[in-house]
């Protein structure tokens, strides 16, 4: 039963089960990572949208979704919530994970993760499976929370540089210009410790795994690509994480002419330090970046200072150019659920209450 909000309506005392979709998904029979516990449902590729709990679904889009699934299933949603709050009572402890291969799968999701993989392949396969337009609606019309990692981040960007010949289809949504394989080929793939103030336990660095990762070339908040009502300004971009300036791998000459003139150290394979000279860029200069969601913390960040940005958020959309799912650390998954998904769900459930 669906109401106007597109979410299954919940009565006043029903528990809300947070459902997060992961684009793609396949599991093999007998593999250690196939789960059949009660919190996990698969909606396989079947015309009659009956619900199955089978270890063998029918389709696989391309990419690394099992890792995301494992991370999401480890989260405890009630942890850290106010012990007496109404929300805590009503939110189911476990996230329900749906592997999204069809429009029907997508319709039951509160939020979506687009995993890493090859953005060209994911986009082509999504188009052939008839998922592309539903995904666009999910982002632009329904404005539900979406997190893109690596290839997913490329799909969420407004413009891509270094796309395959003839261009490639993007979902769009975030005012970001992104360059595919911006650091170079696989030989330039790297790991780096990230200081992320927005996470739980911010003192512990988060190991960012960058695999043929995209690079954010510029931020553009003025042309949010969704059809938002003219009176509302596009949501501002909030920077969540940056590379420490001393570990920015710099394997190729700078891509911006204005910079290469000012740079004497743009030779290959040298550490590159000056592009992040702007201290405003570092989130740790904002003791509490979440106070700044409507603020101006990205103003003044020119095109030349964006190279080190590896995680950012614009309203309900979230992107990371690295792969939090490849580590055991679930703090980024926690962040996405806490900051992007939960506010959305609580808002919807309040709306439902007033309707009732």
């Amino acid at each position: 039963m669906l109401n106007g909000t597109g979410y299954p309506s919940s009565g006043l005392n029903d528990t809300i089960q947070v459902t997060i979709g992961i684009l793609g998904g396949y599991l093999h029979c007998g593999h250690s990572f196939s789960r059949t516990d009660a919190s996990f449902a698969l909606l396989p590729f079947l015309s009659q949208s009956r619900r199955y709990r089978l270890p063998c679904p029918d389709a696989a889009l391309q990419g690394a979704f099992v890792e995301h699934q494992t991370a999401l299933e480890r989260l405890d949603l009630r942890q850290g919530m106010d012990g007496t709050s109404e929300a805590r009572r009503r939110i189911d402890r476990k996230v329900r994970v749906v592997l999204v291969k069809t429009k029907e799968d997508l319709d039951v999701c509160h939020a979506l993760i687009i995993p890493g993989g090859e953005s060209t392949t994911i986009s082509l396969v999504a188009q052939r499976s008839g998922l592309f337009q539903p995904l666009k609606d999910f982002i632009h019309a329904q404005r539900k929370p979406v997190w893109g990692t690596c290839a997913g981040a490329i799909l969420l960007s407004r413009t891509v540089v270094g796309a395959k010949k003839g261009g490639q289809e993007l979902l769009g949504g975030m005012g970001v210009v992104i360059e595919r394989n911006g650091w170079g080929s696989q030989v330039e793939s790297f790991e780096a410790p990230l200081q992320v103030p927005g996470l739980r336990d911010p003192q512990t660095p988060f190991t960012g795994i960058f695999i043929r990762a995209p690079v954010i070339l510029s931020l553009d908040q003025s042309s949010f690509s969704s059809p938002s009502p003219p009176q509302t300004l596009p949501p501002s971009i909030e920077i969540i994480a940056c590379l420490p300036s001393d570990v920015i791998p710099h394997a190729k000459p700078l891509f911006l002419p204005s910079l290469s003139t000012s740079s004497s150290s743009s030779s290959t394979s040298e550490l590159h330090t000056h592009t992040l000279a702007n201290p405003n860029l570092y989130p740790d200069h904002h003791p509490d970046p979440h106070k700044n969601t409507q603020g101006t913390d990205t103003q003044g960040i020119g095109i030349e200072t964006t190279q080190g940005i590896v995680a950012l958020r614009q309203s309900n959309l979230f992107l990371t150019t690295f792969h939090p799912e490849l580590t055991d650390d679930t703090r980024f998954h926690e962040f996405f659920v806490r900051e992007c998904v939960m506010p959305c769900i609580l808002q919807i459930s309040k709306k439902n209450e007033t309707i009732e």
């Binding site: 389709a59 696989a60 889009l61 395959k164 080929s185 795994i209 695999i211």
Partner: protein, 327 residues
């Protein structure tokens, strides 16, 4: 750092990133690594990103573009596809770097290239020109009849072929971040790939039911490093991504290998030795996506034109049994 004790256990699905023995480039002045290139995490991580995809053999930029448009998740750049190597004979070597570079320029997806077994200098060359993955392949003529390349010494990740669990784990202990079945390349005959995948799966099932005492004996029997065998038994799968390769020619072949438990497939001669390469390439990508849906498999298998010529695998096989190369 190549003794088994110091070799990092490669992570499988969802496990932690382990520090690597690979040389790191960026080291802070005080000597603590601040950013590390070529760790096992990023090597096996790229393979994770290829899962559910098709990797296609291509011999020029034009074929690479066809593969990319069909939805290949990576391409394998080589001078002659295995079917030609088999037909023409002679020593098969690494491809011309200029031709590989051309393919790297033409596409945005990862580009792999083959080196001869044990030929570490060919691997150094490929790393220098920036290929994304190296296949230490039995399809080329081996350069060393005893040693494989010490793959820990490279920043670029390696994929290696295997016929059984012992061989797969030996390759992983040498630093391979990605395993494929050997199959019998260039034959268009899937029987060997099936045999190898079934062997790996059945040995994993056997190992995962064993007690620790039995694992010691089993490790000796299959000549696998014990720590990797234990990890495999615990995970109930190989600790790295496992693709099918060698002899796949049709969408049905690809789907069968997926159902047998592979994470994705390599298609070598099967695509560009067939009648309508673009159509067959797309069909195989679709088949890997919808590998358990026979209705869709039927649709994509229609009117694909001529498949590559298949060869029977017997003692008279022209070009010999490639799978027996590697030790």
């Amino acid at each position: 750092m190549t003794s088994p004790a110091s070799t990092p256990i490669p992570q499988g699905v969802g496990s932690a990133a382990t520090p690597s023995v690979a040389p790191t480039r960026s080291v802070q002045r005080d000597g603590t690594p601040s950013s590390s290139l070529g760790t096992f995490g990023v090597k096996s991580g790229l393979a994770q990103m290829l899962k559910g995809g098709v990797i296609m053999d291509v011999v020029n930029a034009e074929q690479a573009r066809i593969a990319e448009e069909a939805g290949a998740c990576a391409v394998m750049a080589l001078e002659r596809v295995p079917a030609d190597i088999r037909a023409q004979g002679g020593v098969a070597r690494m491809s011309d770097p200029a031709m590989i570079k051309e393919i790297v320029e033409a596409v945005t997806i990862p580009v792999m290239a083959k080196v001869r077994i044990g030929h570490f200098v060919e691997a150094q060359i490929l790393q220098a020109i920036g290929v994304d993955y190296i296949d230490e392949s039995e399809v080329l003529t081996p350069a060393d009849e005893e040693h494989h390349i010490n793959k820990h010494n490279f920043k670029v990740p390696f994929v290696c072929g295997a016929r059984n669990l012992g061989e797969a784990l030996r390759r992983i202990s040498e630093g391979a971040a990605f395993i494929r079945t050997k199959g019998e390349a260039g034959t268009g005959n899937v029987v060997e790939a099936v045999r190898h995948e079934r062997a790996v799966q059945s040995e994993i099932r056997k190992a995962s039911a064993m007690s620790e005492d039995e694992l010691y004996a089993f490790a000796k029997e299959i000549q696998a490093p014990l720590h990797l065998l234990k990890e495999t038994a615990r995970l109930k799968r190989l600790p790295v991504v496992n693709f099918a390769a060698g002899g796949l020619a049709t969408p049905a072949d690809a789907a069968m290998m997926m159902q047998l438990g592979c994470d994705g497939v390599f298609v070598g001669s099967g695509i560009f030795k067939s009648g309508d390469a673009a159509k067959r390439a797309r069909a195989i990508v679709q088949a890997v996506t919808h590998y358990t849906n026979p209705k869709i498999l039927a649709e994509v298998s229609e009117n694909l034109g001529e498949a590559m010529v298949g060869l029977t695998i017997d003692d008279q096989l022209k070009g010999g049994h490639l799978a027996s190369r590697g030790w």
